[in-house]
Assembly symmetry: C2
Homo-oligomer: 292 residues x 2
């Protein structure tokens, strides 16, 4: 297991972690500057932040700072209610792939979607098995586009509390079943993003990380689970402030040969997004060294 | 599959569903009266409500109304930090068993506990595998007490969002693994409570209900999952107001031979607990017929 205590060379910042400072949006290019100024070597930007900053300007700033990406957030949202929405999803995901290529991402992270309409408060249907079938079909189609572009797809299982509205792939086992079905050869074109917030509770965590193996482990995200958690979406904790055994799980992932970045992804409306962005980045660096 | 549309003979009310009316505690004996007045045949009371009303008075009222129990809520909370707390847990669970016997419950429902102290905001340790081992040990010990009293134990897997602070058994598969380890003979002394709020999202739901079979299916709880869900604990929905395919899952359970009550358990601080208790019971009856 790598020693993270001496430096932060394997730290990546998911830019959602500092998407707001003091409650106000922090522009992506400023975030990239602030990361580079601290010797942070990698980031994982969100599409909406890239769109706001401009794709070309983002790519330019990343190149100018010599930053790497640990992933691109995100494609997915595959479920649909009719042929038109299915086509729109595929088109949008192709654009996401192209952006990931432009930015030099190692993978496109997939939040696969759930019951259509649920995120807006009104599910178009309740058939979660049907939604899961649509997701598998959507990943299969996108995988063709991804192979053409040599851009790996990383399925991110989301915590079961998001099964209705954000992602109906909710365990590593389920994600790996999809990987096995669509890429039995373990070609590297399809794998998983292991985000500890979503999977830390899983009694089959160690078993499924071993099943994934090096070929399927495309990304590793950290934050912490707070007790109490006061909001289902935007109350993630800084590493060390919660109950996740982060180092123990990182050891499992590295035992399979994972040697990439540890990406900090924290949504925290009431705490970290209310602070100065530089303070948040400094805290990420300190906790990466002491708690990851 | 039984037809629930014509009457509510298989409806049970978990008394937490009406623990408050208009924001104020509704005394258990009044709840029992209100249930009986509506022809509701079964209830599942919570220990704290029974303690407030008195065990003997509760048993008397239940007998006077000819009510049955569909379960007794709850035993468990097995995790500990030292020998004294371990012993205290076992003693308390024995008392819960005795109360369940006095009330004529068909089973004692177990919410198994998680990281000690987390519910109060400060986990004594983070070792969830260790907590799970303590839980298995606690169930094994309690099973001896339960067999003596001929009182079945029903492990209730809780939603993974409660893994840190309420229950570290989070899937049916995990609960059934414990059942298989401690009661391989499927004697009926140990089984599961299937609460749809906790398990509806599980991609292995159908498979594990089939694995459970008649011998292990001791209780069936319903409510609904709202989108959005605004609180991790107290924002459960009334059947029909959310996205759970209740009838489809009831069909799976009944296909295994389950023929007991469908117990409504709703924690709803901002909605149902703010209403008149009689209105809530009437709604439970209507939704039991139309949505369960």
């Amino acid at each position: 297991m790598r020693d993270f205590s001496q430096d932060h060379r394997w730290l990546s910042i998911n830019t959602a972690t500092v998407r707001r400072q003091r409650g106000v949006d922090w522009p992506l290019l400023d975030i990239l500057d602030a990361c580079a100024a601290r010797g942070i070597r990698a980031v994982s930007p969100w599409r909406d932040q890239v769109a706001a900053a401009g794709l070309a300007a983002t790519a330019q700033t990343i190149a100018a700072h010599g930053l790497e990406l640990s992933g691109y957030c995100r494609g997915g949202m595959f479920t649909y209610t009719d042929a038109a929405s299915r086509q729109a999803v595929r088109d949008d995901n192709r654009r996401a792939l192209d952006e990931a290529c432009t930015l030099g991402a190692p993978c496109l992270v997939l939040v696969v979607g759930a019951l259509p309409g649920a995120l807006a408060g009104r599910a178009a249907y309740k058939d979660i098995a049907g939604a899961r079938a649509q997701v598998a079909e959507g990943i299969a189609a996108l995988l063709d586009d991804a192979r053409e572009r040599r851009m790996p797809l990383a399925i991110e299982p989301l915590h079961p509390m998001y099964a209705a509205d954000r992602a109906c792939i909710n365990t590593l086992e389920q994600a790996l079943d999809v990987c096995d079905a669509l890429d039995a050869a373990r070609s590297g074109a399809l794998g998983i993003a292991v985000d500890l917030y979503h999977v830390w509770w899983d009694p089959k965590l160690a078993q499924q990380i071993e099943r994934a193996g090096r070929a399927r482990l495309l990304a590793f995200h950290v934050c912490d689970w707070l007790t109490p958690t006061t909001d289902l979406l935007e109350d993630r904790g800084m590493m060390g402030d919660g109950v996740i055994e982060i180092a123990k799980i990182r050891a499992l992932v590295e035992a399979q040969g994972y040697a990439g970045y540890s990406e900090v992804e924290i949504f925290s409306a009431a705490n970290w997004w209310q602070r100065d962005g530089g303070e948040v980045l400094d805290t990420c660096i300190a906790r990466h060294r002491s708690c990851v």
